[in-house]
Amino acid sequence: MADRIQSRVWKFGDGINSDLILPGHAISRPIPDQRKYVFEANRPGWAAQVQPGDVIVAGFDFGVGSGRPTPRVLKDAGISVILAESFNGLFLRQCVNFGLPIMQCAGVRALFEEMDPVEVDFDAWCAVNRRTGRRVEANTLPEMLKRTMLTGGVVPFLISQGYIREAVPLRPA
């Protein structure tokens, strides 16, 4: 994952929760299919429009709710970064662990219109609207968390060290 990302923006409101991102019924579907159901309740059709690399700009308490693997499905849908006024603590942790870069930026929502081009810089911890030239500073994350978040999260490490395996077929007992 590059520390600098250029892309286009999708705008969302406050309180975008875990169940909107990954609806309960989608959890038991195959992982590659789960992305089709992202935001089906609040923004039907979005999953078919989003393109690889797109960025979400949202309001307060993004990701509030359950411990289901919401950042994974957002990554699978194509999202490269989320910028929000604030993030739920459990969601923030999940983003670190699943390697979905996020930035908390006060005032970010007012800075962008839908489909604006955006540049996000994790070295300088800021985002720039490439249409207007306006820029917003982000809250930094501790270096250890930033490094994990920008290098794919904790799961590849656990697999490479032989702690876990991704899939297990059920065998006759």
């Binding site: 992982i31 411990g67 942790r93 991704e166």
Partner: protein, 416 residues
């Protein structure tokens, strides 16, 4: 400057003299709770090949009990294989001692004052009622904690609540929480610490109901003090040798709020969130409901079933209304039968289900159709949570839910 409860527990586990907001600490959790969801592989979990310490891990099946489909049956089977492979001693399989993990943690005394307890599930802040630091970590981190035996926390600011005054009849901790959620809204990246005579008055299950709900305002940890009542509760479960953790007299708080509970009425959260979105039940009498649900991690206790039975005794559930009661554990279910509550509820037209997360998560046992409306004693009312995204979920206390089941409309329990 002194420390509050969360800071003290984090500092003790991190081997640090002090911990303050923004500090990141690495800690070894005392207890890691795995649930059936962790064995939904590959969607929610991974196969464990090596784990750090089987003594610190316990396994509870709760989201899908009994198994509802091949996927959940497979998760249960993988969970049982995990228990055998690693010699997990504390295992709550479908049967005698099964229940919702947050309820079982209380019943068995698995969380002790000063402990750190973690689980995948967001409502793990429930165990803050036991004077412990507890929270949901999500699928990847609880897996990592199980493998490596450690996890991290970034310490948040703490808001201290002093609950005072005389709580009215039929006003539950749920109503107090909904009042706080309505007035103060999000506590994102913050801890909530509760004190005061109302807390002392509440039984441990009631404190746990409030602690569990704190997930809905985005809290990191919900903390309660350790008092004689909690010590007695834990001694009755064979637990001793723990050290209560109380805040220093000069502990720092982001805010200190005195709440007079005397004026709090039965409260209802409106669809589709609780933050800044609640009203008194008495103002919602025009709202018709199709389904009334008592249960889930916050409100499936014996007290919830007792009050429901008291309200519906000798009466009937309204025509066209489904009243579903889900005990939070097999233990609660047995006690509710012995006390006669189950008979009273069935006579009134309620149905009792197995001890499981049930209708709250919308995956089984009481799914809502498009256009339907429910009042639920569960913790969460996100759009689509209990089934169709075109359904509506109102949240209230078990008393409010039982009263609504009798009238078919959202009803203040003091009016029936």
């Amino acid at each position: 400057m002194g420390m509050n409860i969360a800071e003290k527990i984090l500092a003790a586990h991190a081997g640090a003299d002090t911990v303050k907001p923004q500090d990141v600490v690495e800690v070894t959790p005392d207890t890691i709770v795995l649930i059936d969801v962790n064995f939904q592989i590959p969607s929610m979990g991974w196969e464990f090949l090596r784990i750090a310490d089987p003594e610190r891990v316990l396994v509870v099946f709760d989201h899908y009990v009994p198994a509802k489909d091949i996927a959940s049956a497979s998760a249960h089977r993988l969970g049982r294989e995990f228990v055998r492979k690693f010699g997990i001693k504390r295992f709550h399989d479908v049967g005698l001692r099964q229940g919702i993990s947050h309820q079982v943690i209380g019943e068995e005394g698995y969380a002790l004052p000063g402990d750190i307890l973690v689980c995948v599930d967001s409502h793990t802040c429930s165990a803050g009622a036991f004077n412990a630091v507890a929270r949901g970590l999500g699928t990847a981190e609880v897996t990592s904690a199980t493998c490596l035996g450690k996890t991290w926390f970034q310490c948040g600011e703490t808001v201290r609540y002093e609950l005072e005054g005389r709580i009215a009849e039929f006003v539950a901790p749920k109503d107090v929480f909904l009042h706080l959620a309505n007035v103060y809204g999000a506590h994102t990246l913050q801890n909530m610490e509760f004190h005061g005579p109302v807390v002392e008055h509440w039984e441990i299950d009631e404190r746990r109901a409030l602690a569990t709900m704190c997930a809905e305002v985005g809290v990191e940890f919900a903390l309660f003090p350790c008092d004689r009542k909690l010590e007695h509760y834990l001694h009755a479960r064979g637990r001793s040798g723990f050290s209560p953790v109380m805040p220093d007299p000069d502990a720092r708080y982001a805010a200190e709020r005195r709440i007079d509970v005397s004026g709090i009425e039965p409260m209802i959260a409106l669809p589709h969130q609780v933050m800044n979105n609640c009203k008194p039940a008495g103002e919602l009498n025009d709202v018709k409901v199709d389904q009334c649900f008592i249960g889930a991690c916050c409100n499936g206790t014996l007290e919830d079933i007792r009050i429901a039975a008291q309200i519906v005794k000798g009466r009937k559930v309204a025509d066209g209304v489904r009243f579903i009661v889900t005990p939070a554990s097999q233990n609660v279910h047995r006690q509710a039968i012995e006390a006669g509550y189950v008979g009273t509820l069935l006579e009134a037209g309620a149905i009792m289900t197995s001890a499981t997360c049930g209708a709250c998560g919308g995956s089984a046992l009481g799914v809502l159709a498009p256009g339907e409306r429910a009042i639920s004693a569960g913790p969460r009312n996100f759009k689509g949570r209990m089934g169709s995204p075109d359904a509506e979920i109102f949240l209230g206390s078990s008393a409010s839910v039982a009263a609504s089941a009798l009238t078919g409309r959202i009803t203040d329990p003091r009016s029936v």
